[in-house]
């Protein structure tokens, strides 16, 4: 017993919070990567997450393609679609006010979700966890479903890899430079428009990976993106727009905060993230990890 709460229940909710946090981190990371370079608030991010999950489901249903292959293939498909959308549509809006990018991606999300709802209905469809990850392990203080443990580990590895890519490599240095001064980077002979396309594809691909990881945990439904993306935007605001590490750390922290609230004061669990957002906005408007602009 801790604070009058059975340790099993506490650990259970902590794990649940960590899993939600894993999705928040992956999704807010993608948003931060896109916002950092493109200055676009990607409202289509939830739809891209949903597309990732649907791609995995459809690959399984029509071709019997396994979870593991889908984990690689689905972000690739969503990334290519996103690159096409960026090149043919989004790229035309960069010269205009940022609001247009936001409105465009918001409209795009409505179109994608509406189309999927028309063809697949609003109800969720189950996606089986891969055989290798079914079952549970008994950790002594709690029983851990293996798939949930996998989600946490996979999300951590992906988030840290993306962070390292941006902060520690030549390509990442080019991305950071293009964020600061895109014209000068072009003057050095770097193809910034191509960099923008690849970045948008990377962000969308991250959302799709989160979608595939989520498919066996939640159900695959056209509305799954809308439900989670509002929370993810709150996470990004708390972490600070455009901060890569901020997005990751805040994602996990707020997931855990949500889980713990379920233990101690369940009534508030749905709003705790937004309460934190409001407090952070009052005390530190640039976000926990954001730089004042």
């Amino acid at each position: 017993m801790i604070f009058g709460i059975p340790i099993q229940a506490l650990m259970g909710q902590l794990l649940l919070g960590l899993i939600n946090g894993s999705f928040y981190a992956l999704l807010s990371l993608g948003l931060a990567v896109i916002f950092g370079l493109l200055r676009v608030i990607n409202f289509a991010h939830g739809a891209q997450y949903m597309l990732g999950a649907f791609a995995a489901l459809l690959l399984l249903q029509s071709g019997g393609i396994s979870y593991w292959v889908a984990l690689a293939l689905s972000p690739l498909i969503v990334g290519i679609v996103a690159a096409f959308v960026e090149r043919t549509m989004l790229a035309r809006l960069y010269k205009l006010d940022h609001l247009y990018g936001l409105l465009f991606t918001f409209g795009l999300a409505l179109v994608i979700e509406g189309t999927f709802r028309y063809f697949f209905g609003a109800s969720g469809k189950p996606y089986p966890a891969p055989a290798a990850l079914t079952g549970v392990v008994n950790l002594g203080f709690m029983v851990l479903p293996i798939y949930r443990g996998w989600v946490v580990v996979a999300s951590l590895v992906i988030c840290l890899s993306v962070w390292a890519l941006i902060e520690k490599t030549r390509l990442g240095a080019t991305l950071r430079a293009a964020t600061e001064n895109p014209v000068l980077v072009q003057n050095f002979g770097i193809n910034v428009p191509l960099l923008l396309t690849l970045t948008y594809a990377l962000g969308a691909g991250l959302a799709a990976i989160a979608g595939v990881l989520a498919a066996p945990v939640y159900q695959v439904s056209p509305l799954m993106g809308t439900q989670i993306i509002i929370v993810v935007f709150a996470v990004v605001v708390v972490g600070g727009m455009g901060s890569i590490m901020g997005a990751i750390v805040t994602g996990y922290l707020l997931g855990i905060a949500e889980g713990l609230t379920k233990v101690f004061y369940p009534e508030a669990s749905n709003i705790v993230i937004f309460v934190i957002m409001a407090i952070v906005l009052i005390l530190r408007p640039a976000g926990l990890f954001g730089k004042d602009v």
Binding site: R170, A173, T174, R176, A177, T179, E180, N181, V183, L184, V185, Q186, N187, F188, G189, I190, N191, V192, P193
Partner: protein
């Protein structure tokens, strides 16, 4: 001999405002020219127009036989031109070494990193510091060193001495002399013509978006009266 860089009747606009009114200029391979002129006369704009940052422009700009007007923005550097902007353009989120390694190599014959660090030992000492933590002089060295690595044949230098202490200005002058020895072509924009007089081969005077005078360094003494009048020094 055909010039390496040539501008013929170049006009350019910032949005609706007409800023270059028929610029004519030529620079031979290995030559160091200096554009003089008061603030706001179009010196920086001329460099930015050569690089392609002003897309609304007419006339002819050729470099090594290539038409730069039709060259996409990110391809201009690959013709062999390196740009050191007025505000130096050091990236705050990149370390000194990342700043140095950022511009892609565009041609063979660039200075290897080892040689750059021998020429600018301060940069090696501070290779892992954020770029903008360097002093103004060090940032200027970094901005120039960054272009030397790429193998560019021609470097556009915008007011390299602005806001720097005399001892640093002297150091920049030494670096320019070394570049000249290596056969680098340099287009220098300067307000400080006492500095420019020590390094440049030829001068242009710019006034209201046009080149209004051109003379070699040998005529500098004879032109002093006119320069003092025009530059208000």
């Amino acid at each position: 001999m055909k010039p390496l860089l040539e501008l013929k009747n170049v006009e350019a606009w910032y949005g609706e405002s007409h800023v270059l009114h028929g610029v004519n200029m030529h620079v031979a391979e290995g030559e160091m020219i200096c554009i003089l002129g008061r603030n706001g006369m179009g010196k920086t704009t001329t460099l930015r127009t050569i690089m392609g940052n002003l897309r609304k422009r007419t006339g002819e700009i050729t470099f090594a036989g290539k038409d730069l007007i039709t060259t996409p923005l990110h391809r201009v550097a690959h013709t062999g031109i390196g740009y050191v902007p007025e505000e130096r353009g050091i990236f705050a989120t990149l370390s000194v070494e990342e700043n140095l390694m950022l511009p892609p190599v565009v041609a063979g014959g660039g200075m290897p990193l080892r040689e750059i660090y021998d020429l600018f030992p301060n940069l090696e000492e501070r290779r892992n510091s954020p770029g903008t933590k360097l002093s103004g002089g060090e940032q200027q060295m970094l901005a120039m060193a960054r272009i030397l690595r790429t193998g560019a044949r021609c470097i556009l230098l915008d007011e390299p001495t602005e806001g720097l202490a005399p001892v640093i200005i002297q150091r920049i002058g030494e670096v320019l002399v070394q570049l000249k020895k290596r056969g680098m072509t340099v287009v220098l924009v300067e307000q400080n013509f006492r500095f420019a007089a020590q390094v440049a081969d030829r001068f242009y005077l710019m006034d209201h978006g046009q080149m209004t005078a051109e003379f070699p360094v040998s005529e500098l003494a004879a032109q002093m009266g006119m320069l003092n009048r025009e530059l208000g020094v």
